[in-house]
């Protein structure tokens, strides 16, 4: 397994665009062989990925395939009941199994996260402005009125109107979309180097979504911000991704540069995703409906390839688990993928 992991990582790396940041040689986030389990059930299995400075990695896949758990593992934020093994390196430092102060040296300042459910992710008894101010006070030298000004700047940047008034609102007084923008403002408050965004634009209308994506791109060219972006929306992927990792049932099944993946998907699951994108709207949730069947629950995953029950090309070989192998540009976990040939044999 270790061999496959190394291979896979190599593959994803080789595919990355020339990064914009200064420390171009070292990934800001490097996950290797991550497995998250709840008791005997593995929810996430052997996930490896890495993100270079200034790069955007999109994580896509159906609901329940482990995207959020992967993101939370990266920041050491899993629930107590869950166990993570493998390796997570942030800015070159191993955080898996390290004491909390190790990760706290970067968490909230150099690496921040936007959560999937913004309303629940905000403290209900604190004003939203104060919640953003807390992050600023924790990690910067700013105090008092300077913090307040920064809060209002941030809220304006994420497109919140009447910031003077809205910063004093409690989360329940704001809409889901507004809460999401508060979350985004909070995550960007200390100018992070890595942003992990778990479906950050799902509750937003198209105009605001475009504004947020523009803001992220600006920060990217300005600060060399690296982004892990979880989304269901392939339109957004096409717009912002440098590379894409496709997850299915707790595993990465394909990873590579965005153009390659869109033009020539290799894994049968990715292909199905791309097929149903054509002629479909960008509505979240619609992209996967054309793939017949549903994702198996973590406790009911099949022997061998997790995708086999839904796979149009499955055969006897698929009783064995395919490992993620790379042809240099692309990593694919399918027995039909031949790295040396550079194409899935039909």
């Amino acid at each position: 397994m270790a061999e496959a992991t190394t291979q896979a990582r190599g593959g994803i790396h080789a595919a990355s665009h020339p990064p914009a940041g200064r420390h171009a040689t070292e990934p800001v986030l490097e996950i290797a062989g991550l497995t998250v389990s709840a008791g005997p059930v593995d929810l996430v299995e052997q996930v490896s990925l890495s993100v270079m400075p200034g790069e955007t990695l999109c994580l896509v896949g159906e609901s329940g395939c482990g995207k959020s758990l992967t993101c939370m593992s990266a920041l050491g934020l899993l629930d107590d009941g869950l166990k993570a093994t493998g390796s997570v390196r942030l800015f070159g430092t191993e955080t898996m199994g390290a004491p909390e102060r190790v990760i706290n040296a970067v968490r909230g300042r150099d690496v921040t996260m936007i959560f999937q459910n913004p309303m629940a992710a905000l403290n209900p008894v604190k004003r939203v402005g104060a919640q953003i101010a807390e992050a600023i006070g924790e990690h910067t030298e700013l105090r008092g009125a300077a913090v307040d000004r920064r809060v209002m700047d941030l809220l304006e940047q994420v497109g919140i109107p009447k910031v003077e008034r809205h910063k004093n609102y409690y989360p329940h007084q704001l809409s889901g979309g507004m809460c999401q923008r508060v979350m985004i403002a909070m995550a960007l408050a200390c100018r992070p180097k890595l942003l992990i965004a778990d479906e950050p634009t799902t509750a937003l209308d198209v105009t605001i979504q475009a504004q947020i994506l523009r803001l992220l791109r600006d920060l990217q060219s300005e600060l060399g911000l690296a982004i892990v972006f979880v989304t269901h929306d392939l339109g957004v992927v096409a717009e912002i991704a440098d590379r894409v990792a496709v997850m299915y049932a707790g595993r990465i099944v394909e990873a590579g540069p965005v153009d390659d993946l869109f033009d020539d998907p290799r894994h049968p699951y990715t292909r199905a995703l791309m097929d149903c994108r054509i002629g479909f709207s960008r509505e979240p949730g619609t992209m996967l409906e054309a793939v017949k069947g549903t994702v198996p629950a973590p406790s009911a995953r099949p022997v061998g390839c997790n995708f086999a029950p839904r796979c149009p090309t499955a055969d006897a070989r698929c009783q064995a688990e395919p490992s993620l192998s790379s042809d240099g540009a692309r990593a694919v976990a399918c027995h039909f993928f031949d790295p040396s040939a550079g194409a899935v044999r039909q």
Partner: protein, 313 residues
């Protein structure tokens, strides 16, 4: 806090008081001739006549009710036949003694219940948690008066460390206050524990962690303010329990407060005093509830909206 919320609560409290007064009035009238009930058997015919005159007993019930209400609002609860003074005066001079006991018991409740509940939650499944939970089970299952008697047996009779009855020193206060506060502390500890545990699993706690806030400040600034909300309600409810408990405990420890006055007055059929105590307790309960509601509204910004919606529908 929005004014509508405060006004709603005030109106509700006033209505509760009015209901209690009305209820007391009806009970008094329904149980026979008030002159016979309120005055002692040996009362002179002149005194009976004066009583009838004063409460307008020969007029209609509506007029009697209004007269009664007016008198109550003016603080006139009638005269204690036992010592001839106004009933309110008799009761009020006992109030400080009971308040002293009540507040000490409340202090014990909070000082014992809240920290142990928090600790039990933070160290869930460890010995602090087990110890607290065992204590709460004990605190719940032992009736107040029984605990009082046990304490007297141990600390007064056997060890002879503490006085078993009366007032005068802090040593007199100790046993009744502990007895009264223990059961309430058990409830408060249990509620605090479950409230904190619940909050610890909320997504916003994960957000605080992701922001890089260290553990102790996550607990202090994010978990506890949220966990306090249900605890305030329970504490408020337990204050009602403390008032009820004071009656028994004052009797057990011969603590000369309102509770003991009530028991004595019932025994001696000094109904003017009984009536004054009952209405005073009702007033206290309403005030406590009001304070709890206002604290709640202050702690939880969502409550106002909720109440505004409820008020509209």
């Amino acid at each position: 806090m929005n004014p509508q919320f405060v006004i709603t609560k005030l109106v509700r409290g006033t209505l509760t008081l009015l209901l209690t007064v009305t209820f007391v009035f009806i009970v008094l009238r329904a149980s026979g001739d008030p002159a016979q009930i309120m005055l002692s058997d040996e009362a002179s015919p002149a005194a009976v006549a004066a009583f009838r005159e004063r409460w307008g007993l020969d007029r209609s019930y509506i007029e009697q009710y209004l007269a009664y209400l007016t008198a109550i609002i003016q603080g006139d609860f009638g005269t204690s036949f036992r010592d001839g003074r106004p009933a309110l005066e008799v009761v009020m001079e006992r109030v400080p003694v009971t308040l002293l006991l009540g507040f000490t018991a409340l202090l014990i409740t909070l000082a014992l219940g809240i920290p142990s509940g928090i600790m039990a939650a933070l160290f869930r499944g460890r010995w602090v948690d087990h110890a607290t939970m065992s204590f709460t089970i004990l605190g719940h299952s032992i009736p107040n008066f029984f605990l009082g008697i046990i304490l007297i047996l141990v600390f007064s009779m056997t060890l002879r460390w503490l006085p078993s009855s009366g007032t005068g020193s802090i040593w007199h206060l100790l046993m009744p206050a502990v007895t009264l506060g223990t059961a309430a502390a058990a409830t408060v500890a249990r509620f605090t524990r479950s409230s904190v545990l619940d909050v610890l699993h909320q997504p916003f706690m994960r957000t605080a962690k992701a922001k890089g806030i260290p553990y102790d400040r996550r607990i202090l600034r994010h978990a506890l303010p949220n966990a306090a909300i249900p605890v305030v309600t329970v504490v408020g409810m337990r204050i009602g329990g403390l008032i009820g408990g004071a009656v028994t405990i004052e009797t057990v420890f011969a603590w000369p407060g309102v509770g003991m006055l009530l028991v004595n007055s019932v025994n001696q059929r000094d109904l003017a005093v009984v009536q004054a105590v009952v209405l005073l307790i009702a007033l206290t309960m309403v005030l406590v509830n009001l304070i709890v509601d206002l604290t709640y509204g202050w702690l939880d910004p969502r409550i106002e909206l909720h109440n505004r919606r409820a008020a509209k529908t």
